[in-house]
């Protein structure tokens, strides 16, 4: 159990670091997906299978796909590599690295306090999560749907083709992502799709 956790943690951190240093956007994306999967494993280990599943499906699946889609759309690929190199001179790295180190130190200090219970108390089944979602957090779900609606309308407005400049249509991708997430209130999701078409 312990070994698997540490291994997953190392993979996650390594993948993120690799993601940062890549010039090529696609490579970076792939590394990011890898780190997300590692995080999903950690979730599982902490007894949150439902969260792990969600992490894989929604996070790694939909959002990263979205990124890949945009990268493909703007075919950033290798061509942009040359530019990136110029921007990543070592001196640029110095200041942020120091800050990151200090912040990391602070957080480690905070976490090292006595209060944290390390061992997971046991598995929390998806049913409990579902009950919580539709018990006290019902309003949260409703609000999340409004949140996604706002994001949808905003993205639609911004993404719409400008009158003068050429542009590709990208907005239909979002609708299904937003739809799948909110889960419960399918009715609203349905209406989004229709508006998207207009």
């Amino acid at each position: 159990m312990e070994g698997l956790f540490y291994m997953a943690a190392v993979v996650a951190v390594g993948a993120t670091l690799m993601m940062l240093t890549r010039q090529n956007a696609v490579h970076a994306l792939l590394y990011l997906i890898l780190s997300l999967l590692a995080v999903a494993v950690i979730f599982y280990l902490f007894g949150a299978p439902f969260a792990a599943a969600l992490e894989v499906i929604v996070y790694a699946g939909a959002i990263m796909v979205l990124f890949v889609f945009v990268v493909m759309l703007l075919n950033l690929g290798p061509r942009a590599g040359g530019l990136e190199a110029a921007w990543l001179s070592p001196t640029v790295w110095l200041l942020p690295a120091i800050m990151a180190a200090i912040l990391a130190g602070e957080i480690v200090y905070i976490l090292s306090g006595p209060g944290l219970r390390t061992a997971p108390a046991g598995e929390i089944a998806p049913v409990q999560v579902g009950l919580a979602l539709y018990g006290p957090y019902l309003i949260g779900v409703e609000l999340a749907s409004m949140l996604l609606l706002g994001a949808l309308v905003g993205a639609h407005h911004l993404g719409r083709e400008a009158r003068s400049k050429p542009e590709t249509k990208t907005h239909d991708v979002y609708s299904d992502v937003a739809g799948s997430d909110s889960g419960g209130d399918l009715v609203r999701a349905g209406s989004d799709r229709t508006s998207g078409a207009a």
Binding site: L20, E55, V58, F67, L116, P120, I124, A132, A144, A155
Partner: protein, 82 residues
């Protein structure tokens, strides 16, 4: 968080943002697991929704930036100063 400060490509900034939010989600799930409550995971789900919304608007902005300046370097868009 380092990506946010280092990379000038807006896309990379968005990706590092995603990592940061995800980290927070992880912290919540672990805390929830620690206390044996489902609240952590519920919170995680909401964080997912938030991340998704941010990404959606973020990428829309990326497209706009690309069409306007043909590049994703975020420092191009820094006319507002002083």
């Amino acid at each position: 968080m380092i990506g946010l400060l280092v990379r000038r490509n807006l896309l990379f900034i968005l990706m590092s943002l995603e990592v940061m939010v995800n980290a927070a989600g992880l912290a919540f799930v672990v805390a929830g697991a620690g206390h044996g409550q489902a609240d952590g995971q519920a919170m995680f789900i909401f964080i997912l929704a938030i991340a998704a919304a941010e990404v959606a608007v973020g990428l829309a902005l990326v497209l706009l930036l690309y069409h306007r300046y043909r590049t994703l370097d975020v420092d191009v868009a820094s006319q507002l100063r002083g």
